[in-house]
Symmetry: D2
Subunit: 362 residues, 4 copies
């Protein structure tokens, strides 16, 4: 690695669930040195471990991995007053309302990679998934020009979109994709902690509705799979109909998808398209990239959240049960499993930042 890939980065929203996952994703990162943690005024001025502790002294750390020691003692800054001096890039892990206000301030100076939805639907903003649409990043030039920013905002998608778009991308490229009916069985970690989902509400239960989720999946997928024409991302001409459910799983979103291909493909061709997808991207060997973007299984009982979500540290999407769909034209159907807090959130955002650095944009 050449020295010029080193960046000093700040993390805004460092105390929340997504922020904690960024800490894990950035620990010992070969390019990115996390020098600044920021959060709401309530946390400002506190040691990081104190900022995430209850009054009774219980540390609210939600990741499976331990809190990286190098961050435990850092002092949390007030995000609203963040000094970007010496900062090369910002990761944001805040709610949409806060993002709408904070991200433009940061983007005026430096690149911002965001997990928030605030700017996803703006025409000069790409929604990026590593290996799927990395060419979309080119429109940040227009974003900088039109908004007068030195930096830019690049959001990643909703975590359910990530897995679905990852599975559709190889199909879109090889066969075309016209229609999708997708039913998700989503993990609890996707709901965060405020308010999150109560144990008594999900025990022995399914909650068949997640506010705004279906719209996000439907809208983001078309944009992500769209093509770049000059300064524009032209959405793919695709119709997506989603049913989103919450189930009693900690991590890992399962999606059952029925897909109408543009032209017919045999099941073997479809599996081959899945399995070979993204090889060029993986060959770049970016620090957070997995050896393969998609893993195809022939085990009829797989993928399962518990068994497959950790594949390649949660950066590979697992697909199984590939079979014909009898309803849709050129129809196929399958089950996919994507780790919603790894590729679908913080570590996916870090990999996105690595792409931007690799592309010379950040």
């Amino acid at each position: 690695m050449s020295e010029d890939r080193r960046r000093r980065v700040a993390l805004v929203g460092a105390t929340g669930v997504a922020g904690q996952q960024f800490l894990v994703s950035l620990a010992d990162h070969p390019w990115f040195e996390l020098t600044t943690l920021a959060a709401s005024p309530r946390s400002a001025g506190k040691r990081y471990t104190d900022a995430i502790s209850t009054p009774g002294g219980s540390i609210q750390w939600g990741c499976e991995e331990a809190l990286p020691e190098q961050f435990a003692g850092m002092t949390v800054q007030d995000a609203a007053k963040l000094d970007l001096d010496g900062i090369d890039m910002v990761f944001t892990a805040v709610e949409s309302d806060a993002a709408k206000e904070l991200e433009p301030r940061f983007a005026a100076h430096v690149p911002v990679v965001s997990t928030a939805s605030a700017f996803r639907y703006e025409s000069d903003v790409p929604i990026m998934i590593p290996g799927v649409n990395i060419e979309h990043s080119a429109i940040v030039k227009r974003q900088q020009r039109d908004r007068g920013w030195k930096g830019f905002v690049v959001p990643i998608p909703n975590c359910t979109t990530t897995g679905l778009a990852m599975a559709l991308a190889p199909l879109a490229r090889r066969f075309g994709v016209k229609q999708v009916i997708a039913t998700s069985l989503q993990a609890l970690s996707g709901a965060g902690r405020s308010p999150g989902v109560l144990g008594t509400d999900i025990l022995d239960n399914v909650i068949p509705y997640i506010p705004k989720e279906e719209e996000k999946v439907q809208d983001e997928t078309a944009k992500i799979l769209g093509r770049l024409e000059g300064d524009e991302i032209v959405p793919l001409d695709i119709v997506v109909s989603a049913h989103c459910n919450r189930v009693q799983v900690r991590d890992g979103h399962t999606v059952c998808a029925s897909v109408a291909l543009g032209e017919a493909g045999s099941l073997d061709e479809v599996k081959e398209a899945f399995g070979s997808f993204g090889a060029d991207f993986c060959d770049l060997a970016l620090p957070s990239a997995p050896p393969a973007l998609i893993s195809v299984t022939e085990d009829p009982f797989r993928p399962q959240p518990k068994a497959d979500r950790q594949l390649n540290d949660g950066m590979t999407t697992s697909i199984g049960r590939v079979r014909e769909d009898t309803v849709l034209p050129n129809g196929i159907k399958f089950v996919l499993l994507s780790h919603n807090t790894k590729m679908g959130a913080a570590k996916g955002a870090v990999l996105t930042a690595e792409i931007l650095v690799h592309q010379g944009l950040a």
Copy 2:
């Protein structure tokens, strides 16, 4: 009730999960007197409570309701040697292989209402759902004639089919139904106990495959929604594509369905069709029938297994989130919740028997 509706009934497969649910459904039944319990040779000759106990003396009773006291002390018979003398009707709750062998023997003499799949796909056998296709029972006459039986076999469907066909029936009648893509989130009780699903396998997990389930849902639905033409059930010209999943729920199958109607209906018309379905049937006021077959909710977070499965003692299907489906022609989509061990199994079979008695067939 006139005296002539009283029947003496036998239950075969009385010790299993489904059999236990029959005991609950038949306790204090106004028409059916359960006089005989039968099971495998291993249980034969034992008191019922001993037959369902472990060697250590722990009673393996799986229903939420208590074991009805009147059955606790009955002696279990050997199903293979069952004496039908004095028996008017038989309920069977055995595996398909056993049903294939036993049910013809019983049907030679008396009506058999079965939860097994053994005879579901024979052309002279109806698959019955109360309130949905009760006219199909007429073909038992052909069954008796062709097979030389004094009785007959009437199976109920797979428990996942029950909820789906119940929801499709009013749509088929009012608008026509052409295509269905359905994803189920099925409860653990549907898997029974041998082998059942291990706690360590379903904890924090989804299992996206249930052997043979999708085929059953696809095939049975067309037959159930078919029309009787003379001696034939002509299946509905419908294509059903199913994704079947096991989730960590005790009872109650949730299904997310996208449906192409034959002709367009507004969401209000669709809801009205659901809500008014089966009023004639319910007016019969059969002992196990609910006041309504379908309940429609406007609460976007419903139906949920825990909150809605017990509605009318598990005999009413709950439907919510009725909205347009953008993929399918004249498309609508919704979520349904059906109690798999009540309407979907034993109590549904008892209600089916009530229909047959009401129709003068049993």
Copy 3:
């Protein structure tokens, strides 16, 4: 029932989890007519169903039983401005801080039966459990005299105390009880909803600490099992050591208890003491009383929350695995299961009120 047992009652804290359970317990009550619902200013002036609904229109009803229709349309009052005119008795289901302020205002006029801990540890206040210490109610006379109240406050205990004290009472009476080491496995419903326990925190987990719970169990048990001497409740000379855990169970607190008896009893004598306890009380046949306070099982795998919590609508404590404890002097040990939101909360409070009416105190 004589006419003079009819009371018009108000429920304060009607919208919370415990309040909802009161509605179920008071529906169609033969003595108590619930005429007034009160809650915080946020709910005041709303229809009850609106007061418990989210902005999106989802009714947050947490009981297994349906919302009794007669209460659905009642207008919720502001608890702080509650007009007691025409009210004979008040049930409170509010947090301790609110109880400290509100209950004296109500008690100045009418009897208050409370689920809150605010007054439990005052010397002129009994902590009552139906069938266990109903004679303690006599000290409300002193409470009225000393505080100048026309009414009084009678709290029920913490829900974990209820089950333990119920099990210890027959032992204390027959053998004496000197020491108890008790480990609880408590249900999620005991934590309420604000903040409650997040699904992601309890899935695949045990939380071995519930703030202030162990102290409550230890202190309340001695008082409840104490004897009335004149105007004083003299606590039982007992030492209780508690370990309180939260487990992934919806309703029903399990407690593993090791007990040092005052004098030795055989296991049969102990079981007999359990099984026969409270017969006199049950003979009163109060409307909410179960036919037996304690049920003893010989099944080594019982009691279990799922199988046993609903016994007699949650009003009977189940005890099993009665055996010798080798550590404590005259030691026995056993497992008990008590329904924390039935006998341990609202319905236990309603039964307490029935006792007070029966005793002529309310």
Copy 4:
């Protein structure tokens, strides 16, 4: 490492849950080369992956870690006909009945380290826990002499005993331990898969009984904490009373323990004894040993199975909530968490074997 620590080992019972965990524990082991896999005749002659697959081709692999590739293609031998030629040591992971028959055959020739209970209670057999009682291994000399074996059998304890004895050992050494009342909340993985615990039985439930478990905990603890006198292990003069429960947790046994110390110790002294325990043992830096045997936490909500079981790959016992117990003389109480399938099973057995090699016994 000197060359003479290299051993060629066989694993008997390779296909079961415990056997699979041995594969993970032995992958890339610096000393032990796993050259032979053996199981029941049903698996004999099959490739390992085929031996653990269902007829439908689904691999039944139960570990969180992936199946180590080097073992996937090995041919499984028939355990009853195992050829020990070239084998230096055997690990057994079979049921007690099979162990009773097989282990003596193997022990006639080579050392056997066993997870089975078959020989645990023989007077010439130690029950070993790494770092707790490694000096007990000396009695294998007597075992060899009396039984005429060239090898020997060394079992590890029941997985619940492991955590409890680990926590008691530093107390016994420093203060003495007289009495223990311990309540376990045990994980599902401890029940294995045949029959295991059904999902429908443990969902929303606690099962307060595990056959034979309490006796094992009580008996094994005294022997493990005993002292070696010549050729005898003299059990510690301790009384243990156990309540064993199954809860809905995948891995990690939680135990709430109240302990009477021989002489009083302050809470700080107790914590210091826990935290410093086993430093000498850990200094040996055996391949599977953790950096510390016990970790003490001040977080009142810890230890928790989900958060703490993976500490040092499951080889460190976590202890928290150390406080006084008011019932027992010199009483303290605390919560411990031990990984039942790591230190409590396969990896604990591998570490035990490392000790035996280090001691020159194997």
